[in-house]
């Protein structure tokens, strides 16, 4: 069938710069560039271009420019080009549209409507360059009260297992299979170096990475891939995955072509078969059932590590979160509308769930009202772009954040949204052995460590400006936030005042 899809990008090759070196031909995984031997010229199949910029960055003579195809449809606010092109794609395939990364639609980004405070005159700001500034965060259930043994001044209360983070920024769940082994290595090394955690996602843990177990969150999801006693033992935290922001209510299908020999060994399934994660966990149909799995995992690890439960942010998150805490979760993880993924039905990604800012505020408020906020830490994810977002999240009530997309961007991702194809030209979201080499774990870990260092320094600056010397004094401290351009209802849900008031 002749496709009616127009090219999305135009590739301009400056003939005065191009030296026919074919770097672009070799770098492109979408079969865009090709060498015409007869004319001794490199040319392009523009229609295949996804705009990932791999060729542009690697062209040694800067000969390439990739631009949006300026093809203009007649103006129509309802029938926008994306809407038209989705229909064309489905009329040519009859399938569910797949995509990668997080929601890219123009829903309000509340971080951009929240402003942070700073001290002026009435309380001094602190200079983090010269004064101690504490970002240390402990995740896990906190006791209702602590008792001290008067004679020895030692702690009498027995604490639930706690995990110490040197900075409240962790790497979000991205499974081996969705991302490459070198991405896992980069994340694990960076997390270990920076004193934080990374997350295996639901695809198991490669034995080579067991040595980073102390910095690893091991996920237990509906497919139970790679979940075995050693996996549970080696991890620092175990996370039950109920849902994810990019596809609330949807299971996962890792396509058979991505299940390579190595991926099959880690997931513990035969090579080439689809790895199907059912939509629900079939042992969890209620809060009581969730409690059962939480305690099964506590039993399986002899109560030595916190159990986290992750849900997608949806309309009744606050009530669900209350149930999760009562089910024994030590950490609750909320993943918002803009959370990324390796593959999701586009219609789900673009239409299901709520922004993380609103979910976080309502969950934190609800748990406080019920007097159970201390019983679980709150970790959020889904669209955290910089340290400003981190500070705002903590002020709204989070204990820590997960970053997924931002971490991938640090490794080279340009958000071309082709993760589901397995052809990632940056070698990130692929299991093709030739492509995975494009991420060097030494360099990857350095880039990620740098990112964490930069954000942590900025967080200290933000705290210092507020006159606060420890991140825990910012947690849930919504007086440090003001809203701008928000309705009364939005301000009420976020629990913040209007800027100027």
């Amino acid at each position: 069938m002749k496709t009616y899809l127009p090219s999305r990008f135009i590739i301009e090759r400056d003939p005065s710069r191009c030296i026919q070196c074919k770097v672009c031909v070799n770098q492109c995984t979408f079969d865009v560039h090709y060498y015409d031997a007869e004319d001794d010229e490199v040319r392009s199949h523009e229609e295949n271009c996804v705009g990932c910029h791999r060729c542009v960055i690697f062209c040694p003579t800067n000969a390439l420019t990739v631009r949006r195809n300026p093809l203009d449809y007649r103006e129509n606010y309802n029938w926008r080009p994306e809407v038209i092109e989705d229909i064309i794609k489905q009329s040519e395939t009859g399938g569910v549209l797949l995509t990668g990364m997080g929601n890219d639609k123009g829903y309000p980004i509340y971080w951009d409507h929240l402003l942070l405070n700073a001290s002026q005159v009435t309380n001094p700001s602190i200079d983090p360059l010269r004064e101690p500034m504490e970002l240390t965060t402990y995740l896990g259930q906190k006791p209702d009260r602590v008792e001290i043994e008067p004679s020895s001044l030692s702690l009498k209360t027995q604490l639930a297992p706690q995990v110490k983070l040197d900075t409240p920024i962790m790497f979000a769940a991205m499974s081996y299979g969705a991302v490459s082994i070198n991405v896992h290595k980069s994340l694990a090394r960076a997390a270990a170096g920076a004193g934080t955690l990374w997350n295996t996602g639901e695809g198991g843990l490669h034995p080579e990475l067991y040595k980073y177990g102390n910095n690893t969150v091991a996920q237990v999801a509906s497919g139970r891939f790679g979940v075995h006693p050693e996996y549970l033992d080696v991890a620092r935290v175990i996370e039950i995955k109920i849902g994810q922001g990019a596809k609330p209510g949807i299971g996962g299908h890792l396509p058979g072509e991505k299940v390579s020999a190595e991926v099959s060994a880690t997931r513990m399934i035969p090579e080439g078969t689809d790895a199907l994660s059912p939509a629900p966990q079939h042992d969890i149909y209620s809060i009581e059932d969730l409690a059962q799995l939480v305690y099964a995992l506590k039993e399986a690890t002899n109560y030595t590590k916190p159990i986290a439960v992750k849900i997608a942010a949806v309309h009744n998150s606050a009530a669900i979160a209350s149930g999760m805490v009562r089910a024994g979760a030590d950490i609750i993880v909320l993943d918002g509308l803009r959370g990324g993924t390796g593959a999701t039905p586009k219609i789900i990604r673009d239409n299901v769930g709520i922004p993380i800012e609103l979910a976080l505020a309502s969950v934190d408020t609800r748990l406080r009202q019920e007097g159970i906020r201390n019983q679980a830490s709150i970790v959020i994810s889904g669209g955290i772009r910089n340290s400003g977002d981190v500070a705002k999240a903590i002020a709204l009530g989070a204990d820590a954040v997960y970053i997924g997309t931002a971490a991938l961007v640090a490794l080279g991702c340009t958000l071309c949204q082709q993760c589901h194809t397995g052809k990632c030209a940056w070698g990130i979201c692929t299991s093709n052995p030739a492509l995975t080499k494009r991420v060097n774990p030494d360099i990857g870990a350095r880039r990620l460590t740098n990112l964490l260092r930069g954000w942590s320094l900025e967080l200290k600056d933000i705290l210092g400006g507020m006159g606060i010397n420890a991140i825990e004094s910012l947690r849930g401290n919504r007086l440090q936030l003001r809203g701008i351009g928000l309705t009364d209802t939005e301000l009420e849900i976020l629990g913040v005042k209007m800027a100027g008031s």
Partner: protein, 250 residues
């Protein structure tokens, strides 16, 4: 010395957490045989035990019996509840009675023998990898979605308690199945099978597997394997390795 010793624990009035802590302690002492009496619904028995100990249970163990278990052999003189053998890695569970829903959910290894019936979604998402191959043998019949999403292993449904000419009750058998095999004795109508499974005659290799496992089942519960094997069996197999591969527009 302790190796031959049988430790008896009276579990009446003991919460599962204490009971399992006690089990851990006894097993780390090197005890290899344990008898648990008066079990009334205590959960997770055998979960954190990674040694090939033998546990005899008298009573009704609670949900998630042997969840994540890695090695022990558990014999239940009574019924088991839901989630028996959940995500089990290795070991054996023998139930002299019924078992509840999701028996053997996501099991990756080990063997589960249920003398009578099981509830819904037994054997769901069992998976195999190399030499690890979970086995579930059910003496009676099962409820809907038997072997759903099955990704490996062997599931045997014997229907020993069906009356002559009576069909199994389960619908949607093997829905979403994409690996492994189900051997079934007793009739089912076509509409009871999931869209993703095909029906075939057993070949020689199937016969060997079936004989071995049915003999094991028979020896646990005092049946005659030859009698069971005399009847005709059907083999249910996945039609596709990738049942949902053609669902998407790339």
């Amino acid at each position: 010395m302790k190796n031959n010793q049988v430790v008896k624990i009276d579990a009446s009035g003991i919460f599962y957490r204490e009971l399992n802590a006690k089990l851990r302690e006894v097993v780390s002492d090197g005890v290899q045989k344990i008898e648990l009496c008066n079990i009334y619904g205590q959960r997770y028995i055998g979960t954190d035990l990674d040694k090939p100990v033998e546990i005899e249970i008298f009573g009704t163990p609670g949900n998630d019996l042997g969840a994540f278990m890695d090695g022990p052999k558990i014999t239940v003189h009574g019924n088991a509840q839901d989630g028996c053998g959940n995500t089990m890695n290795n070991g054996e569970i023998i139930v002299h009675g019924h078992a509840g829903d999701i028996t053997g959910l996501s099991a990756r290894g080990g063997k589960i023998f249920i003398r009578d019936n099981v509830g819904y979604r037994a054997g769901i998402h069992m998976k195999e990898y190399q030499d690890r191959k979970p086995v579930v043998v059910i003496g009676g019949t099962a409820q809907d979605f038997l072997g759903e999403y099955m990704a490996g292993g062997v599931l045997i449904l014997l229907g020993l308690n069906l009356k002559k000419g009576e069909c199994h009750k389960a619908n949607f058998i093997g829905t979403g199945m994409h690996s492994g095999v189900i051997y079934m004795r007793g009739n089912v109508q076509d509409f009871q099978l999931g869209k993703e499974v095909g029906v075939a005659e057993l070949d020689e290799k199937d016969g060997l597997v079936l004989k071995e496992l049915v003999s094991e089942f028979a020896s646990h519960f005092g049946y005659a394997a030859e009698e069971i094997l005399k009847h005709k069996f059907a083999k249910l197999f996945p039609l596709h390795l990738r049942p949902y591969g053609r669902l998407y527009a790339y």
